[in-house]
């Protein structure tokens, strides 16, 4: 099973605190532990929302607003994707994450093709599998 750990944090509060070198070291140790255990598939951090935009699909045409997203109480700050045997294993990794300032980790199961077997047309599922393989080849994975 794959699980996504989504880091949710308060961007305004975080901006007031300068990055702490010790935090990078703790995060490095946490990442190393996950790679050593063979569970980490991917992990990325996102830049401040000032460098982003929101596209809202509410009317005929999508509307675009540029960041920062000041009205949002919580933003996604980054994520990890883990391959584990159970939900409990995902919970224990999430508990070990080196955060201590009110950050929340939302842990969500990532869908697998089997989840859509009776919902999506089979040809769409097959095409999806081919697209994954092509995208992996294009970017040298």
């Amino acid at each position: 099973m794959r699980f996504m750990l989504l880091l949710k944090y308060d961007e305004a509060a975080q901006a007031a605190t300068p990055p702490d070198p010790a935090m990078f070291e703790e995060m490095g140790r946490f990442n190393t532990a996950m790679v050593d255990a063979g569970v980490l598939l991917a992990g990325e951090g996102l830049m401040p929302s000032a460098q982003g935009s929101v596209v809202a699909f509410d009317g005929e045409e999508p509307t675009v607003s540029d960041g920062p997203f000041t009205e949002a109480k919580e933003l996604v700050g980054g994520f990890w994707i883990l391959k584990v045997d159970s939900l409990q294993e995902a919970v224990s990794w999430a508990r070990r994450a080196p955060f201590r300032h009110g950050e929340r980790l939302e842990v969500r199961r990532v869908s697998e093709p089997e989840d859509f077997e009776d919902i999506a047309p089979p040809e769409v599922m097959e095409q999806e599998e081919q697209l994954r393989a092509r995208a992996a080849e294009q970017h040298g994975q």
Partner: protein, 148 residues
């Protein structure tokens, strides 16, 4: 530059539950969109998330971590899935986001993904080196997994 498109939607809009458009059409439209992304050579990764009833939240506040089971009923909208694109500019990322075949009430957050080089001078060099090594180890392991 890498950008992440984060789909945020009320959970009631999940394709299995949404009234109106037949699920097959929704999947076909999304399949065409993903196809166009791959044709353009910009798609790095994309995944969908299952309902929050299968998830949980871990809150870290100092001493301990507390765990709360899903569903996250108090949340107005939740992350439903994401795409990561390799593009030349923020405008290109926004253009792809605008083309996404999703219905009213859905938002796509477009966020730039951090690159290791940007943390030079902020994070200790040995931490950045270790991070680069970890990424290589993951890539090698995945390559082996695909070959076997």
């Amino acid at each position: 530059m890498r950008y992440m498109l984060i789909m945020q939607a009320p959970e009631s809009m999940a394709v299995e539950q949404a009234g109106g458009v037949p699920p097959a059409e929704v999947f076909e439209a999304m399949g065409r969109y993903n196809h166009d992304l791959v044709e353009a050579g910009v798609l790095l990764a994309a995944e969908g998330l299952t309902p929050s009833a299968e998830g949980f939240v871990v809150t870290h506040d100092g001493e301990s971590a507390t765990v709360t089971d899903g569903p996250f009923t108090e949340a107005k909208e939740l992350v439903a899935g994401f795409w990561i694109l390799e593009v030349a500019s923020r405008e290109e990322a926004v253009q792809w986001a605008r083309r996404c075949p999703i219905g009213p009430g859905v938002r796509l957050e477009v966020r730039r993904v951090g690159e290791l080089a940007e943390f030079e001078g902020v994070a200790p060099t040995e931490v950045l080196d270790a991070e680069a090594t970890l990424r290589r180890r993951i890539a090698e392991r995945e390559a082996e997994r695909h070959q076997s």
